[in-house]
């Protein structure tokens, strides 16, 4: 079925007609530009749901056919009845998870690219840990109480978004000093792994059963990625606390001898997802966030079960996606290509969440 891709979808021509009937829609944030550009390039109409601050930006691009402006992104649910009446497919990204509750996600009946059942396994840090362990991945140690801490840890508040609310603690004493800050909060205490971060962007096609590595990045975090530029003696006097707020991304390529392992990790995560989240499992775009230690082991920090912002580095294609496509293939465009392939092979149901399948 891989051949299909080559046959159906020669790039930018909007002549297939299949896409023209559908509008791909998403919230104007996170990776919306990439998703809508990709949708346009595959022949779909495009819709950005923006707010007052962002509508001007999204209107400035020719590939955005329509912008609907709402007051704040959490008002999205008010739009749902209207959107449900149109021939729309929603491509979700991180801002959906940030602004919509799990319940709201499940209530929506707009055709939704992806499997909502995965959301439960991703949202709970315990379930996610189970999933990754069952897939045989290496995870950092977790500590249940501050007293257990015997090495540096990262504190991650529940629901922390974009690295906000992460905290570095040197030891148990450090924990004691912040105890009042952490009281009445839910958080996990994760071993601080010393190594370099690498985020691997995958795409799994449930139409072809094939996994692709799309691209890779590392996050660009403030202020932690600026600390190294301050001489250590000066740092001592300045007493800066590291923060991990993600404000961008940087491209990385992985040593090729480690690529087979990266590929295997992706396949294992998909395989286990099909056991735990219903037969559809995890499909489409996802990302495994790793730290690589000097013994070249991957430690897994987290999994994101949809397109991640790091793919924004590769709107015009990546060295990895170029191995599979002779044209610039972003993850956003790959999603649109999958939807198009599903339409052309009459298997749209395969790539939509079950609750959003319409009886056409």
């Amino acid at each position: 079925m891989t051949m299909m891709v080559e046959t159906y979808a020669e790039g930018r021509q909007r002549d297939s007609g299949v896409g023209e009937m559908y509008t791909i829609a998403t919230l104007g944030s996170h990776s919306a530009l990439q998703i809508l550009k990709g949708a346009h390039d595959e022949g779909f109409k495009t819709l950005a749901i923006a707010n007052r601050e962002t509508e001007r930006l999204y209107r400035s691009f020719a590939f955005v056919d329509e912008v609907i402006t709402i007051d704040k992104y959490s008002d999205f649910m008010l739009l749902v009845p209207e959107l449900e009446k149109r021939k729309i497919i929603i491509v979700p990204h991180g801002s959906f998870v940030a602004y919509l509750s799990l319940e709201d996600h499940k209530k929506m009946r707009i055709p939704y690219f992806g499997n909502k059942a995965v959301l439960d396994w991703e949202a709970s840090r315990e379930l996610q840990r189970d999933w990754l362990l069952r897939a045989g991945l290496k995870l950092p140690r977790q500590f249940k109480t501050g007293a257990e801490i015997d090495r540096p840890v990262i504190v991650k508040l529940y629901g922390a978004q974009g690295g906000k609310g992460y905290m570095f603690l040197r030891d148990a004493m450090d924990f004691e000093e912040r105890a009042s800050l952490l009281a009445r909060q839910n958080y996990i205490l994760q071993e601080y792994i010393i190594g370099v971060p690498l985020y691997i962007h995958y795409f799994y096609s449930s139409l072809t059963g094939k996994l692709e590595i799309m691209s890779m990045d590392r996050r660009y975090e403030t202020n932690v990625d600026s600390l190294g530029r301050i001489p250590s003696q000066a740092q001592a006097g300045m007493d800066v606390d590291p923060s991990y707020v993600v404000v961008g991304n940087q491209p990385i390529s992985l040593r090729e001898s480690m690529l087979a392992e990266a590929y295997r990790m992706g396949e294992d995560v998909v395989r286990v997802s099909q056991e735990i989240c219903g037969p559809k499992g995890l499909f489409g775009a996802f990302c495994i966030e790793t730290i690589i230690t000097p013994d070249t082991n991957f430690y897994i920090m987290e999994i994101s079960a949809r397109i991640v912002a790091g793919t924004n580095l590769f709107i015009d294609g990546s060295p990895y996606s170029y191995l599979n496509y002779s044209e610039p293939m972003s993850t956003g465009r790959r999603i649109a290509r999958e939807i198009k392939n599903a339409l052309l092979s009459n298997s749209l149901d395969t790539i939509l969440d079950d609750s959003t399948i319409q009886h056409h």
Copy 2:
């Protein structure tokens, strides 16, 4: 008028004829390769003015039609009379500012892409600060005297180029120790903002009135970007002073939820420039140099009113320019495209400095 771009200028074909009559010229340094490659791809003839060290490099590229060699770049003014006789358009970059005085800039009558009136507002740190404040941007605090210093600062010598002559000071005492070094020098004392650097490359078209974000980078500075690789205990013993000499650039993408703000900053800077530098204001390529703090605020370090070296990462296109163009669109090529569009719509005067408009 945006449509024009699509209609006129389909990439590499040199068939429009309009470009062939003109030669795009620049100094062989900084971003000359990108400017001349872009000019060639848009159908112009190209001229590099090189020195003995660089002529071999520029001659090695097929898209450089002509190389004129001078002894040193500051000899450029000697060439001017000859160049004024030809059908040449100068595209200036950072090395023009480095090697030519403001007076020389203004004396030249060669058709010059850009508005020289902006140079005064850029060259003076006080005027530049005024400009950016009027545009509503956040600037780091400035200290007038060493005694005022109550936090780490960056000392920037007047006329410092490429980060040379920047100095990090921890506190007022540190200032005292360097006092003799700084005596009889002109400098500013700028609050050291702790956060990650991001340089945003814009292009404002005075033909269409539209602003585009072309690409983004961070500088690669020696030795400061190598300090983090030295363990802090070892640094203590080595007593290294950070230096900020720019020797390269690294690509970055910005969190999409901050992109609307980045776009607005560009528009505000252009709008104010039209009030202070004559009606033409700032147009063409420019760059806002920011530090992003953990509260996701942009602090503005500086503005560069023309193409910056960070765009050299994107000679074959960038993820951002791909949103607007279906072909590799560097900033250098975007400039040539603008000149071509001006020629085709008979509005060359719109994009040249007023003092260099010729009565054709």
Copy 3:
């Protein structure tokens, strides 16, 4: 002869027929994907020699026509008799050097892209140093004994691969403490240069006599590239030793005013190689690994006489290669293009190691 490139080889069409008769083969590791993708795009058949762990990865790509699986890469020599019977050209990369001895390299009679005589000059740290000094390059100081050490040094074990076995030493005392660890090992003690790393990827064509800069990167090393993210006070307590294991690469562009010097270094290295390694000298892909100091000097750490892994960032082309080619030109593809040009101009012998020239 540069024109030839344009005439012969318009991209992805496999119609030239010349390539179809030959298979480009390499070990499934290091930069094999790039080499084989490039070979495919230039019209060659492709063969990956993989092991049990990697065969699945290489089979997943459509441009890999054939995969032969061996138990371990050092078993490669067992395959040689079979490969010698076929119309195969080997493109070597770093893993050949890692897994095959110099003797085995020389024993092989499979047509081999490159000049094996260069291997001796590269493998011996003394000969390599001679070579680079004769080319006029700046090298870090070397210390013969621990007692001589008067500044921080890097210890490099002989045969260290991918940065494994590098060690940072602050001073002579630090050396004493590790003395037992270093006893009975062969190593060099190299001055630790404080500055930013830059790896420059070149391609020298012995068909045209022209040198090209293909791309640039810096290595991504664990754990040393993560140290800067740990606040200096915390580092003190954690007592982390830096390690330099290469697990990836990051793209960099070089300040254009330093590019002519980078070009000259490449030419000088090639020129001297033609004096010391026989008339063919060094040709094809190579890399000079530098540290740039605040006075903008390049210090040379090492030379790699073939394609390096940093080029994997540019499988879909680089800003530098785009200056010479209007299509995505990776170093891997450039190699295949060179082989194709040799075939078309009946000069295959020019680009193969002398010992592997067959009498066709």
